[in-house]
């Protein structure tokens, strides 16, 4: 079997977080726009035999919603979505995310696409996994320029959950909402605590010995390159071609 792609390692790491027995159960997971690696992680969990319902907002044929994204938000409001993924142009050490931009509002420096549903989903979903491949001081900042969605809220504000973890191209962080701080959980191969500190703009906690993020098992790789890719080909042809070397069948 050919070498593990970084995207495959990230998908396997996300799948382990999805299935974490210490977290609230993920019976129904929703995946939003332009999220091929989180989608691969969800399919990996499902194809590994775990009974998880997946609602992929951007699936074209057989889209799960008959009222578009409105139904996704209503489902989440009802408490029927257990886990969602969010990213950010900037993410800070209190797990605030910024999808607006830098510089003066609304992003006179660099404008990001916009907040999507994050300001709602982050508060209304029991579990959020933050995911951003780029791990650099420009993305992981001490304090976001603008808050699209806050990592923690005052006690009187209705909130079902917050970040479980932040997964990047260099490592996996756990989030502790009581402390509003990240803890380094594992470093991907080739990274160390020092290399991660150098590329992280915010302060975080770390264990004395930092574990290495495990590679996907050969069974996981076979699933990713086979049935997971089959499911993703229509929505993410470019990703499937690049990562799994699979071209779309016309």
């Amino acid at each position: 079997m050919s070498a593990v792609q970084p995207e495959e390692r990230l998908a396997a790491a996300l799948a382990r977080l999805i299935l974490d027995p210490s977290a609230p159960p993920a019976r129904h997971i929703a995946v939003g726009a332009a999220s091929p690696i989180p989608a691969a992680a969800c399919w990996l969990a499902a194809k590994s035999g775990h009974p998880v319902r997946l609602s992929l907002l951007h699936k074209r044929s057989g889209n799960p919603f008959t009222e578009g994204s409105r139904e996704l938000f209503d489902l989440t409001g009802q408490g029927r979505i257990d886990l969602f993924f969010l990213g950010g142009g900037q993410i800070d050490g209190q797990a605030n995310i910024n999808l607006i931009g830098t510089g003066e509002w609304p992003g006179a420096g660099v404008r990001f696409p916009g907040s999507f549903g994050s300001a709602f989903m982050y508060l209304m979903t029991p579990r959020t996994i933050l995911f951003r491949e780029e791990h650099s001081p420009r993305v992981l900042v001490p304090r976001v320029a603008h808050v699209s969605a806050p990592g923690v809220s005052p006690p009187e504000v209705f909130r079902r959950g917050t970040a479980q973890a932040l997964v990047t191209g260099r490592c996996v962080f756990r989030f502790d909402p009581a402390l509003a701080r990240f803890m380094l959980e594992s470093a991907h191969p080739g990274e160390s605590l020092a290399s991660i500190r150098a590329e992280t703009g915010f302060d975080f906690d770390a264990p004395a010995e930092v574990p290495v993020t495990p590679d996907p098992t050969s069974a996981e790789l076979a699933l990713l390159r086979g049935p997971v890719c089959d499911e993703m080909l229509e929505t993410y042809p470019e990703f499937c071609g690049r990562v799994f070397s699979r071209a779309e069948v016309a």
Binding site: A33, R60, F73, P106, G114, S115, S118, F120, L123, A149
Partner: protein
């Protein structure tokens, strides 16, 4: 209802109108957006329902837009929307940032005919600080402190969608994209382009009725084959990723955008232009 023409639909959208467009996966009328560029529309206020994509970037690039209210503007796998980004940098458009469920909720309030609706979440987002029209109030049903967001009803002047088919009555079939019905209910005027006109009455077919928007809400429609292109249309045709990627590359610069629009909106090929010059 007699089918109209695409250019007549575009002519009926006044400069300065609040124009609602669905996102790239939910039946936007790209054909009407291109016709608005051809008619030289100005000062449009665009509403992304709840986000914005290809048609919005095109209208901004062509100088048709004064303001965008949306939860995000993106070209999907082709990346950031280049003309939107340039316009924000230049300060040539006003952006009113929202978050997706707030836009749906504002339209749902409009379709119910109530002045506002509450929505959970959002508190703690900086979006709120920039939306004086959104308020946080105490939940009147609770004795415990429970702040909750209320958002006002929003009635777009015009909504533009591309449906698969219309019947002779003017009923439109949108399949599973029933969120377009909420937009139709909330908007003061619904203009639609369609792939084709079919005989009979869609509402008399039990299997099609649920995916049908009643002609009650439809002001006018025109036939525009492949009117959603390059966006996907249900199971009729897929997303044209190569077309959007080529647009994204060209539209990185103002000149590139103009050349692209000359060819793909005005139908003047580069070679013909060269010959004329």
């Amino acid at each position: 209802m007699t089918p109209s023409s695409l250019e007549a639909l575009a002519a009926s959208v006044p400069d300065g109108a609040l124009l609602a467009l669905p996102p790239d996966n939910s039946l936007p009328s790209v054909a009407l957006a291109k016709a608005l560029v051809r008619r030289g529309a100005r000062g449009l206020r665009l509403l992304g329902v709840p986000v914005s994509g290809f048609a919005t970037d095109l209208l901004i690039g062509a100088g048709c837009v004064a303001e965008v209210e949306t939860s995000a503007v993106s070209l999907g796998e082709a990346g950031f929307a280049p003309r939107f980004s340039a316009a924000v940098r230049a300060g040539s458009i006003t952006v009113r940032d929202a978050t997706c469920p707030a836009i749906h909720t504002m339209l749902q309030a409009a379709e119910k005919g109530v002045p506002f609706m509450p929505l959970r979440g959002v508190i703690g987002s900086d979006i709120l600080a920039h939306r004086p029209d959104w308020r946080v109030v105490q939940n009147p049903m609770s004795v415990a402190p429970d702040p909750i967001l209320v958002v006002p009803a929003l009635h777009p002047d015009v909504a533009a969608i591309h449906a698969v088919m219309a019947d002779k009555e003017g009923n439109l079939w949108v399949g599973r994209r029933r969120e377009c019905a909420t937009l139709a209910h909330a908007a003061r005027r619904l203009l639609a382009t369609v792939e084709r006109v079919v005989p009979g009455n869609l509402l008399e077919d039990e299997r099609l009725a649920a995916g049908t928007i009643s002609a009650t809400y439809v002001e006018a429609f025109a036939v525009a084959e492949r009117g959603a292109h390059p966006v996907a249309l249900l199971d009729e045709y897929g997303f044209d990723a190569a077309y959007v990627a080529a647009y994204a590359r060209a539209a990185r610069t103002e000149e590139g955008f103009r050349a692209w629009a000359e060819e793909h909106v005005f139908g003047r090929a580069a070679s013909a232009r060269a010959a004329a010059e």
